[in-house]
């Protein structure tokens, strides 16, 4: 087994909603509940789930864009949650993020070159170094010197996402969190950007968390897969094993309902029964039980733990509790 680069232990994040002096019914939204997982060096962990399942929050917690309420996040065996703003600055060089919406993730008032240079400026590179490194990085993602002088408004979505990748990688990080990096792009461009990411991952020997709701994309990029539902990790394991045999009923449903190019067109898509419950009032016990075809009494009473089923393949479901 390879070395762990990131280990997330029992992380919980709640959002309080409905603030105010006179609002008595303050509510708590549990975005991530007791989540634990690890990422190995030079491997990609794909995180998949429906929107609102807490996968983006997980990414933000690792970036410390949000502070978790409980738990530890170990990066190279060091708990980054204990670090001060200044100590964090040196770590930030090593952990970078690629954001979902390339139209919102680039400052419209900065040229492409300025955007990429900014991170270098923050970390104290000289003016000439900033320029050289930024241009070099932009060339690696396929953005020419001429385009680098432009503002984001004159770039296409694909180009913008390339710039976002360049910005993330220009500091030469060890670890990248990619939050739905291709979901805002046209299908035809998705593949180009995914290939670019794969290529750069090898060149920079990156470890990655790749967040997506698209099982096809996850299958393409991931070494490991983690499935989340309503803030809970329901299944975790090596990508091959998970795609070969889904253990959790939710993963099974997700795969069945996922569109595939090779599928028989005439066959109608499988749709998961019912609606996602509100994360403000999640179901007791197993959170998937309200939509699970195999649910039984125990599912409502106890919360299933993530247990090892086969080797590294883990699942949280009472069907496998024996």
């Amino acid at each position: 087994m390879t070395e762990k680069i990131l280990e997330v232990k029992n992380v919980t994040k709640n959002f309080k909603i409905g603030k105010g002096l006179f609002n008595r019914n303050k509510q708590v939204l549990q975005a991530v509940s007791d989540g634990s997982f690890e990422v190995y060096k030079n491997k990609t962990l794909g995180v998949v789930g429906e929107s609102g399942c807490g996968k983006s929050t997980t990414g933000k917690l690792i970036m410390r864009l949000e502070e978790p309420d409980e738990g530890e996040i170990l990066f190279n065996d060091r708990n980054i949650l204990d670090l001060s703003h200044n100590q964090m600055k040196s770590i930030r060089k090593d952990i970078q993020m690629i954001f979902q919406d390339p139209y919102a993730s680039l400052n419209p008032q900065m040229t492409i070159l300025e955007t990429v240079k900014f991170s270098l400026m923050v970390h104290g590179y000289s003016k000439s170094d900033q320029r050289d490194k930024a241009l070099e990085m932009l060339e690696m993602v396929g953005i020419s010197k001429q385009v680098a002088q432009k503002y984001p408004s004159s770039l296409s979505g694909g180009q913008r996402q390339r710039v976002a990748i360049a910005r993330a990688l220009v500091l030469n990080p060890q670890f990248v969190v990619a939050d739905e990096p291709v979901s805002a792009l046209d299908k035809s461009i998705q593949a180009q950007v995914l290939n670019l990411l794969e290529k750069l991952k090898d060149e920079f020997s990156l470890s990655m968390i790749f967040i997506s709701h698209d099982l096809n994309v996850i299958e393409y990029v991931s070494d490991y897969v983690m499935v989340m539902y309503l803030g809970k990790v329901v299944e975790y394991g090596p990508a091959e094993e998970v795609y070969k045999e889904q253990l959790h009923p939710y993963t099974q449903a997700l795969v069945k309902s996922s569109p595939s190019m090779t599928r028989d067109r005439k066959k109608s898509f499988y749709v998961i029964e019912g609606e996602i419950p509100s994360p403000i009032h999640p179901p007791s016990g197993c959170r998937f039980r309200t939509r699970c075809p195999f649910a039984f009494d125990r599912c409502a009473q106890e919360v299933p733990e993530l247990i090892h089923k086969k080797g590294e393949h883990k699942v949280s479901c009472f069907l496998y509790d024996s």
Partner: protein
């Protein structure tokens, strides 16, 4: 997103293949030359252009005042007092001390325009900082700043300015300070709400993950993106600022005689209304059309910036 994103994705998948495939570069090539399109839109507004031209002219007259007249702005000839408009040698007439009205107007424009412009400038600088800081950090810092500014909303603006001016003592500086003060709260609010819209954009998160400090993020990422709404709002305050400044000056809280300033000119002429009913026309008219030009001009800027 909706309740069943998976189902939605199906649809997208099929539609995409047929009609969404297009070369990457044609996505959005518009909007590149913002300045050019702004001027084109602004130019179409004839009234705003005329007002702009007038404003340039009056600033020019103020700056080059000594070259545009042969009279002194402070020394008059007692022999030619209260001459009406159109008199020989004094085409705008003379005042109660026989000073040439045109000379007083162009020299007075210096102080009047200054007293109108500087408070908006100072208010914009301080208000932007307060607004950006409170919008960016939110929470307690926002509450602290905004609730404090709320107190100043409890005073009618001109009363607050009068109160401040009364305490500090009269003078042009007094007018500028007290007007700056009343400009800060509304500008802060505009800056804050503009910042709130920007602060949750992903590029701010991206800047945070680069390890940049708060000051750098506010300076490089927030400020350039909230500048235009603040600028538009501040420009709408210029006309009001001129009216307030000349109003305070009219009340005698501004300059000392014999210095020329539009509001104060009205103050010294007001007692002569009984003798010459239209004596106050000229200085007041200049305050009026200058405020009008400022208002129409800033409306033009606003329309040109907001029109998409």
């Amino acid at each position: 997103m909706s309740v069943q994103p998976l189902k939605k994705e199906n649809k997208a998948n099929h539609v995409v293949v047929t009609n969404k495939v297009k070369p990457e570069t044609t996505d959005s090539q518009v909007d590149d030359n913002f300045e050019i399109s702004f001027w084109n839109k602004f130019k179409r507004n004839k009234i705003a252009v005329i007002c702009g031209a007038y404003l340039i002219l009056i600033v020019f007259c103020a700056v080059f005042a000594p070259f545009l007249t042969t009279y002194s702005p402070t020394q008059g000839e007692l022999a030619s007092r209260i001459l009406p408009i159109g008199s020989e040698g004094h085409f705008l007439g003379t005042d109660e001390q026989g000073r040439d009205m045109w000379t007083r107007i162009i020299f007075g424009a210096r102080l009047s325009l200054l007293a109108a412009f500087v408070p908006v400038l100072i208010g914009t600088m301080i208000g932007s900082i307060l607004g950006i800081v409170s919008g960016y950090f939110g929470g307690r810092i926002e509450t602290l700043i905004m609730r404090n500014l709320d107190i100043y909303y409890a005073f009618p603006a001109i009363i607050l300015a009068i109160a401040l001016a009364a305490v500090i003592g009269s003078g042009l500086g007094t007018i500028i300070i007290s007007l700056s003060f009343i400009m800060i709260p509304p500008i802060s609010r505009v800056a804050m709400s503009a910042t709130k819209k920007v602060a949750h954009m992903e590029y701010i998160d991206a800047a945070k993950t680069s390890g940049a400090g708060h000051v750098k993020i506010m300076y490089y990422h927030i400020f350039p993106n909230v500048f235009s709404p603040i600028f538009v709002y501040a420009s709408t305050l210029l006309g009001l600022s001129l009216l307030f400044a000349s109003g305070l000056s009219f009340l005698g809280l501004g300059v000392e005689p014999p210095i020329a300033e539009w509001g104060f000119m009205l103050n010294s002429l007001k007692d002569l209304v009984i003798i010459s009913p239209m004596i106050t026309f000229t200085p007041g008219f200049f305050i009026f059309i200058t405020a009008l030009a400022l208002n129409l001009f800033s409306d033009g800027i606003r329309d040109a910036m907001q029109e998409k």
